[in-house]
Amino acid sequence: MGPLIPQDIINPAWSNAIAVLIGMGFGFILESCGFSSSRKLAGVFYGYDFVVLRVFFTAAVTAAVGIFFFNYMGWLDARMLYINPYYINGAIVGGIVMGLGFITGGYCPGTSYCAAAIGKIDAIVFSVFMMVGILLFSLVYPLIENFYNASSKGPVLIYEALGMSPAVFLAIFVVIALVAFIVTSRIEKKVKKVEY
């Protein structure tokens, strides 16, 4: 059955309208979870608020389990889903730079939009400078082009890389998430509360 738009079950002309609706849901959920507060987000790094980890892991587990079962039930053809290609350099260095950006800026792109939408001035500054950063990246791109495009592995799936079946990996993933939830709750109780 699914995915619907790539298979023309829903006319692709609707895709932009659907994008707005999905985006609204995305923004609403992020804001309602408190992702519009940089201090709440940064809590994950200092142990006083693990909201990021909780939302993130719950969402990833729910969606991954859902995709697996939908595929199993024939509702969604998992082979047609977009898998972002794995470039070792890009993923690692990009991840490190983003991690630094996260701890200094306190937002990630999606959350900065949410925070900007409810009037957080720091988030507006963050979003604007994110675009400056992209521009900067395009300026130095010729210098790092080789590095950026090197070590391409194509769209690799993690269970393939680990040599597992998807079901086994997913089961492990669910258990890891559960352990992470329990451990972080314990940590949270011990760490001094921060008012924000």
């Binding site: 408190g34 389990v65 859902g66 079962f69 039930m73 024939g74 509702w75």
Partner: protein, 208 residues
């Protein structure tokens, strides 16, 4: 964490998610087509000689009457020009329609042998393999195809080896070592080897 105090909505959301999965799993329809044999056993069994009926045995096969389900995969035109008695014409592309799969399964339940034939053995090798992989019994094929079977039925005895398409017809290594049989102009032709233009022609000839 005061947010963690409220769990009513969380439980409802979880319940809805689980409910969707459970409904999905309960209403799941097993596809009517599934491989019942994995690749390994399919590969191991690919060259099982008992799956081939040689032309000389076709008469005996037809003599079994309703114990055999004979399927002709050639085109309707070829079928109209001549076919084996009691054969059913099913084009290759229609072999797996729901109706035909059910018919095959019923035939297997009634202990009938399914035999495919086409214009030659190659014509039915892949379809028979697919049907076997899908667990539709031991689907046999007629070596040499329709023409061979017809000839055998009209009394012409043929050596089964003749219809063993996988038999090496020549001693390849000997033949490849030796010069071309036609030695009229062997050397001066060498420069003409690479002729991409001839590609189309080669294809046209081999269009069969």
């Amino acid at each position: 964490m005061k947010e963690l105090q409220r769990t009513d909505r969380l439980l409802i959301a979880t319940g809805v998610f689980i409910l969707i999965l459970v409904i999905g799993l309960l209403t799941i329809k097993r596809p009517y087509l599934e491989y019942s044999r994995d690749l390994l056993s399919s590969a191991r069994d690919a060259q099982n000689p008992s799956m081939t009926v040689y032309p000389n045995d076709v008469a005996a096969l037809l003599g079994q009457g309703s114990k055999v389900l004979l399927v002709d995969v050639r085109s309707e035109y070829d079928f109209a020009r001549g076919h084996l008695d009691n054969a059913l014409q099913i084009p290759k592309i229609d072999l797996l329609t729901k109706k035909n799969v059910e018919m095959f399964r019923d035939a297997v339940k009634e202990h009938r042998t399914i035999v495919l034939y086409g214009k030659d053995q190659l014509d039915v090798t892949a379809p028979a393999m697919l049907l076997r992989d899908l667990g539709i019994g031991d689907v046999k094929v007629i070596a040499g195809g329709y023409e061979a079977a017809r000839k055998a039925l009209s009394g012409e005895q043929a050596d089964p080896e003749e219809y063993n398409a996988e038999k090496a017809a020549y001693n390849y290594s000997e033949m490849a070592k030796a010069p071309p049989a036609d030695a009229s102009a062997p050397t001066n032709l060498a420069p003409e080897i690479v002729m991409p233009v001839k590609k189309a022609k080669g294809k046209a000839e081999g269009g069969c």
